[in-house]
């Protein structure tokens, strides 16, 4: 059974009198341990799809099952608790909390889980080691380079061992060399830790490191891989 399974997903919103449809009837299945890139031009709906899978936005119609949960049916509070357990989010602009150290930023999502202090410490240290920033644990975001900040962002996303990690243009604000390092890190996390990754990018080179590459154009998933078997099993 796929880890992420979406079917007939549509997102609409209104801007004045104008109806905007950033995502139209999208269906997709992502298996556990997969590394999927989602390409498309600006406004193609790729970030919308990512946000829907991450549970920070709601679809107009269609279903989203992630790790066995129909997240479109959850209340706002249930969705927040679900995100804390199941989603790691890597932002383009890192979005670290400026008043917290690298260690504290990484520990933040763990504070929402029922974990003892020692367990939290162990997990943060592992995450810091995984992104190669053990020696920067006490540094504040302003004391880190862009690449280091993004590594902290990645560590924060993986520290809770979520079902799926989503990355929205994770190299969009980095130079070429640092971008390559970050992409290599994501590839390594997928390969070594089995992290399921969905990465949005507009850069074909970045997209090419993923095992599966999907493309969105004007809200339509062009190379969908419809989860026929899974959907049939559900009677869809």
């Amino acid at each position: 059974m796929p880890l992420v399974e979406i079917h007939g997903l549509t997102k609409e919103y209104h801007k004045g009198d104008q109806k905007i449809v950033p995502l139209r009837d999208a269906s997709l299945a992502i298996d556990k341990g997969d590394f999927v890139s989602l390409m498309g031009a600006s406004g193609s709906g790729k970030s919308t799809l990512l946000n829907l899978i991450a549970g920070i936005d709601r679809p107009t119609s269609g279903t989203i099952h992630v790790a066995g949960t129909d997240i479109a049916s959850l209340t706002r509070t249930q969705l927040a608790h679900w995100r804390a357990r199941n989603v790691g989010y890597i932002f383009q602009l890192y979005n670290l909390i400026p008043v917290l150290t690298a260690y504290e930023n990484i520990e933040l999502p763990l504070l929402l889980l029922p974990l003892a202090r020692a367990e939290r410490q162990k997990r943060v240290e592992i995450a810091l080691a995984a992104v190669g920033l053990t020696d920067r644990a006490d540094h504040y975001p302003r004391q880190l380079s862009g690449g280091q900040e993004q590594r902290v962002g990645i560590a924060r996303a993986i520290v809770g061992d979520p079902a799926v990690v989503v990355a929205d243009e994770p190299t969009g604000d980095l130079d070429a060399e640092t971008s390559e390092q970050i992409l290599h890190l994501l590839q390594r996390l997928n390969a070594e830790l089995g992290t399921t990754l969905l990465m949005v990018t507009h850069d074909p080179k970045s997209a090419s490191i993923a095992r599966r590459q999907l493309r969105l154009d004007k809200g339509v998933l062009l190379e969908p891989e419809p989860p026929k078997v899974a959907l049939a099993a559900r009677g869809a």
Partner: protein, 381 residues
């Protein structure tokens, strides 16, 4: 929520100038609030105490300021024989100012043996025997001693009256701590008190249990109605209320000042918290993305608001109570003083008020932060 306290503290520290200014503003407002509460509580305390209910004050009729009331001392001996009267204490009152004052010094001259009988005084330094033996000796209330920096053996003068401090006392009624007790005869014979021997300002009556105070007032005034000097007798509480009547109106009005202080704290803390929330729209969206529920975001902002308000409350209330305790301030008029109270209840009221205000001030900003749409907020700069 405890796990997030470092995050809240660091956020307050992030905008430390703004936080410090808000805390200072709240502290100043709570300082004034506590002062107002202190004098109001002092007024309420004035008529408390078992003896006040059983005490009457006999004053010369149609006189107001103690310096104009002159009753024959003999009246006290006549009154002492009346049924229903346990004690009749002749008192000569001398003071530095008959009008409303923040530094009223009131001397009560009364027979030494009566002082210990009718006043519930607790000697904190000095001794009674020195007081009883020495002609110019004085027992000084602790609040006044603090205010005027007096110690045992010090000589203290007001106008032409000079006394030697023989003892410093505390009293069950804080207002008594602004008095100086001295010998009646010494006060009657002081320089400047012309023809004062044999006269007193007032007579304090201590009623026997079960005596009707109002009926006794009428009986006393009736007794002296045909004499050369008529009397005006009232229960001690009524007498004190009349003496400080103008102050009572002022103090009553001051409670609006107290409300204004609370409103000021509400506005200050509310504005600061709202600004802090507006500065962190994206940050709160990031926290929600990580899995913080809207209730948790609401709680974080509320605790932040509460922390600012409560810190201001602790500083302001604490400072006000410390100064009031140290200075022993009292406001008085016509020989009656209202001591600024420094009871723990004031601290509790101050902290409760700032807690409630802190929570109330945080509600709108907290709701704004908690209910913001995540995706839209992540796009904000």
């Amino acid at each position: 929520m405890w796990k997030f306290l470092p995050y809240i503290a660091k956020n307050l520290w992030r905008n430390r100038t703004r936080s410090a200014l808000t805390i200072s503003g709240a502290a100043v407002a709570m300082f004034v609030f506590t002062f107002v509460g202190s004098v109001q509580e002092g007024l309420a305390n004035l008529n408390r105490g078992s003896q006040t209910e059983r005490s009457l004050i006999v004053f010369q009729a149609n006189r107001f300021c103690p310096s104009t009331s002159r009753l024959p001392e003999e009246h006290a001996r006549i009154l002492a024989k009346m049924p229903g009267i346990e004690e009749a204490v002749p008192i000569k009152v001398f003071m530095n100012n008959c009008r409303a004052s923040l530094d009223l010094v009131v001397f009560h001259g009364m027979p030494a043996e009566k002082l210990r009988k009718v006043r519930d005084l607790n000697l904190v330094s000095g001794d009674w025997s020195t007081y009883e033996k020495q002609r110019d000796a004085a027992m000084v209330g602790q609040a006044l001693a603090r205010r005027r920096s007096l110690a045992i053996g010090d000589r203290f003068s007001i106008g032409e009256l000079t006394v030697t401090v023989a003892g410093i006392f505390t009293a069950a009624n804080a207002a008594d701590e602004s008095f100086i007790y001295t010998h009646l005869e010494f006060l009657q014979r002081m320089r400047g008190m012309k023809n004062s021997v044999g006269t007193v300002t007032q007579i304090e009556i201590l009623l026997a249990e079960g005596t009707d105070a109002k009926a006794m007032c009428r009986s006393i005034d009736e007794k002296f109605r045909t004499g050369a000097i008529q009397t005006d007798t009232r229960p001690k509480g009524v007498f004190q209320a009349r003496a400080v009547g103008d102050l009572v109106d002022l103090i009553g009005f001051a409670h609006y000042l107290g409300y204004a202080c609370v409103a000021l704290v509400l506005t200050l803390v509310g504005t600061t918290t709202l600004m802090a929330v507006q500065d962190r729209v994206r940050e709160h969206a990031v926290l929600q993305t990580l899995g913080f529920s809207w209730q948790r975001i609401f709680g974080l902002v509320l605790v932040e608001s509460l922390t600012v308000s409560l810190t201001g409350g602790v500083v302001g209330t604490g400072l006000a109570l410390a100064i009031l305790s140290w200075k022993g301030l009292a406001v008085g008029s016509e020989g009656v003083t209202i001591a600024f109270s420094t009871s723990p209840l004031l601290a509790v009221i101050g902290l409760a008020a700032t807690s409630i205000v802190g929570l109330a001030a945080g509600i709108v900003p907290a709701w704004t932060a908690a209910r913001a749409e995540i995706v839209e907020s992540l796009r904000s700069i």
